[in-house]
């Protein structure tokens, strides 16, 4: 587990303002990659050259992408009583908001999303975000505006907690992908392929940084490191649905999740078969993702320029896009092992 994961998880890097995360990434990869660049959108790219290659064989150029941004909110304005108006950046479930702890801006000003006490509020259904406010303890508009400003990014306020088996924290989507990518770069020996690392921006608002990075890097192949929603917790419904088997397809501890299809990407079947074979050779159990929800940087990467074969390998993750995501240590190790095995064995005929 990369030692930077705590700092990465706790940093605020809501889409469009990934500065704090970028700082950690740059310091982590310093000395482990060459040609480190920050592109006009703010994505960080770097190269890990291939081991001295067979001069008769063209060295494959493999882009590996993980996104630095997280979902969160943006400060929109102030009410006269010092309460703050906000809007979502990326996909947020309105139902989790009331009473939630947040931190605002570069100074991490603490706030709480309001929640009317239960004895005044028994009938309350889901409150729309536009009707919610953040309380930072200010009693007037001026007092609030002194401490925070419009445009400030707002993130969940969660501490990173490490257990023997599980880890808990915010923005594992996709700081865990970033940690994995840092681990791949910090790996001592070079790979037989050239690795083009891309720590991208603005994935959560439309896969935007990855599009530009792919258009610029022009790789032969791309691998996206992501997190995907585990569904191994029972649905809290009154009557179990007798029509169907509770059959979770994405469990913690059951290994890397291979995307077959998502709303923005259908993975090249030949490439998918290669990834599966590689996992099987290494004795790594894996799972599939083929649901029409979400999207990853792979969606914009694979249709960049004249097309780039792209695979997405995800960590199973409970409670995605919430203050307390949970992952399993063994999955981290298995994803890392699988990607390294791919880099050590992939050739042009595999896709």
């Amino acid at each position: 587990m990369n030692s930077h994961l705590r700092a990465l998880s706790e940093a605020i890097g809501v889409s469009g303002k990934e500065d704090a995360v970028r700082k950690i990434v740059l310091s982590a990869i310093d000395g482990h990659a060459s040609d480190i660049k920050i592109d006009p959108m703010g994505s960080v790219t770097g190269r890990k050259k291939a081991s001295s290659a067979d001069p008769l064989r063209e060295t494959l150029r493999v882009m590996i992408a993980a996104h630095m941004d997280e979902v969160g909110f943006m400060l929109m304005g102030f009410d006269g009583d010092g309460l703050i108006r906000f809007t979502a950046i990326g996909g947020i479930d309105d139902r989790i908001l009331p009473g939630m702890r947040v931190k605002i801006g570069d100074n991490h000003v603490p706030g709480v999303i309001v929640w009317t006490p239960i004895h005044k509020n028994r009938e309350q259904a889901v409150v729309k975000m536009s009707n919610l406010r953040i309380d930072i303890g200010a009693t007037s508009k001026d007092e609030a505006a002194d401490r925070v400003k419009r445009g400030d990014r707002i993130a969940f306020d969660s501490q990173f907690v490490e257990g023997d088996t599980y880890l808990r924290g915010k923005s594992f989507d996709d700081r865990v992908g970033c940690a994995l990518l840092i681990d791949l770069l910090q790996h001592e020996a070079p790979y037989p392929v050239e690795v083009l690392a891309a720590f991208t921006v603005q994935e959560e608002v439309g896969l935007r940084g990855a599009q530009v990075a792919a258009q610029t890097l022009k790789p032969d192949l791309a691998i996206v490191l992501e997190n995907t929603a585990a569904n191994d917790m029972p649905d809290p419904v009154d009557e179990p649905d007798e029509e169907r088997d509770p059959a979770p397809q994405c469990r913690l501890g059951a290994g890397p999740v291979l995307t077959v299809m998502d709303p923005r990407l259908i993975v090249n079947p030949k490439l998918l078969a290669f990834v599966r074979r590689t996992a099987e050779k290494e004795g790594i159990a894996y799972q599939f993702k083929s649901i029409l929800a979400g999207g990853t940087d792979g969606g914009s990467i694979h249709i960049a320029n004249a097309g780039i074969p792209t695979a997405v390998i995800s960590m199973p993750c409970r409670y995605l896009h919430r203050p307390s995501s949970v992952i399993h240590r063994r999955d981290y190790a298995d994803v890392l092992k699988l990607v390294k095995a791919i880099l050590h064995s992939v050739s042009k005929s595999d896709f």
Partner: protein, 337 residues
């Protein structure tokens, strides 16, 4: 043309998994192309001619289908999601075919009850692939995360052809037949592109247009008709000739492109109709916004029952589309000023 079309429509190729269709088409067009290559997404790009206006002609190889996600342990049924736009009203009792030839049947738990009059959401359907061997233990999970297409054989009724995946194998047919008739004779530099993944967002056309970098683009696809009892308000009818696209949800065809096509149809005495579609778009929309922009249009084949397994076209319309495309491409491609 009928024999070629039958091979095309009965081939297996859901979006993302077009390799069988690509192999089939490649064998058909090899003698009529100067150069053939496959791009990073799987598009089949066939160049005919060298020098002159670069024209890209796109017809998509992929068809809509289903993606089986997982198999339920108790029942052995597969739960699935859609590849492309499906009509839930066509599901129950329908057959799907997996790459290995296995035929699945789509079911819904209460199809004789609530299912008689209500259309369930896609996640309430399932596919039955049981083969009687289940009593010996768990059925193998090998259909998890695998795609399937809707399955039906082609029929002919008078001057109509009826089949699944007319959208857009009939477009591929028009391209193939045009390549045959041109027989490498053209003053232009033509790129016949058999694209992938149109049904999930025009993805192949986007990368193909980037790679080919054409001066002009023409898509070949089906369009709906307004000649049925339930009356879509459209001016297109079977037997009305090649449909020259004016406008759809993704593309306003530049008047010069539309007029170029109309002039050719008039000059060669080819029956044509003008098409405005409010239900969708084609590869031409992706070509139009490629790089610095490409004037793009489309020749559409009128088709009833689009996205069902009984898509119906009129043979004379198909012939008209071939003649129009051939006429446009065997003369120097120049837009009227």
């Amino acid at each position: 043309m009928k024999e070629t079309l039958k091979k095309l429509v009965e081939a297996w190729g859901p979006s993302g998994y077009e390799h069988h269709v690509r192999d089939l088409i490649r064998a058909e067009v090899e003698p009529y192309a100067d150069d053939i290559r496959v791009d990073g997404l799987g598009n089949l790009i066939c160049r005919v001619g060298q020098g002159g206006t670069k024209v890209m002609i796109a017809a998509h190889m992929d068809e809509i289908g289903v993606m089986a996600m997982y198999q339920e342990k108790k029942s052995g049924y597969l739960r699935f999601t859609n590849i492309g736009g499906l009509l839930n009203t066509t599901m129950v009792g329908g057959r799907v075919k997996f790459e290995d030839g296995t035929i699945g049947v789509i079911g819904y738990s209460d199809y004789f009850g609530s299912g008689r009059t209500n259309v369930p959401e896609l996640d309430h359907f399932f596919i039955d692939v049981s083969d009687g061997s289940e009593s010996n233990g768990d059925a193998p999970q090998d259909k998890a995360a695998r795609p399937a297409v809707f399955w039906r054989t082609m029929e002919e009724r008078g001057t109509r052809w009826i089949a699944k995946s007319m959208d857009d194998r009939v477009g591929c047919l028009v391209a193939i037949e045009t390549m045959r008739r041109l027989n490498k004779q053209t003053p232009n530099e033509l790129y016949f592109v058999f694209t992938v993944q149109e049904e999930v967002g025009l993805r192949g056309a986007r990368t193909a247009a980037y790679g080919v970098d054409p001066d002009l683009a023409i898509a070949l696809d089906v369009t709906a008709t307004g000649d049925l009892v339930q009356n879509l308000k459209m001016g297109i009818k079977l037997g009305g000739g090649a449909a020259i696209k004016v406008h759809d949800t993704g593309l306003v065809v530049p008047p010069a492109v539309r007029d170029w096509m109309i002039a050719r149809a008039e000059a060669d005495g080819i029956p044509y109709q003008l098409e405005l579609l409010t239900l969708g778009t084609t590869d031409a929309a992706a070509a139009q916004t490629s790089r610095a922009g490409v004037p793009s249009g489309a020749i559409s084949i009128p088709c009833r029952f689009v996205h069902t397994t009984s898509e119906t076209v009129e043979i004379s319309d198909v012939e008209a589309c071939v003649r129009l495309l051939e006429g446009l491409l065997k003369n120097p491609a120049a837009l009227p000023q």
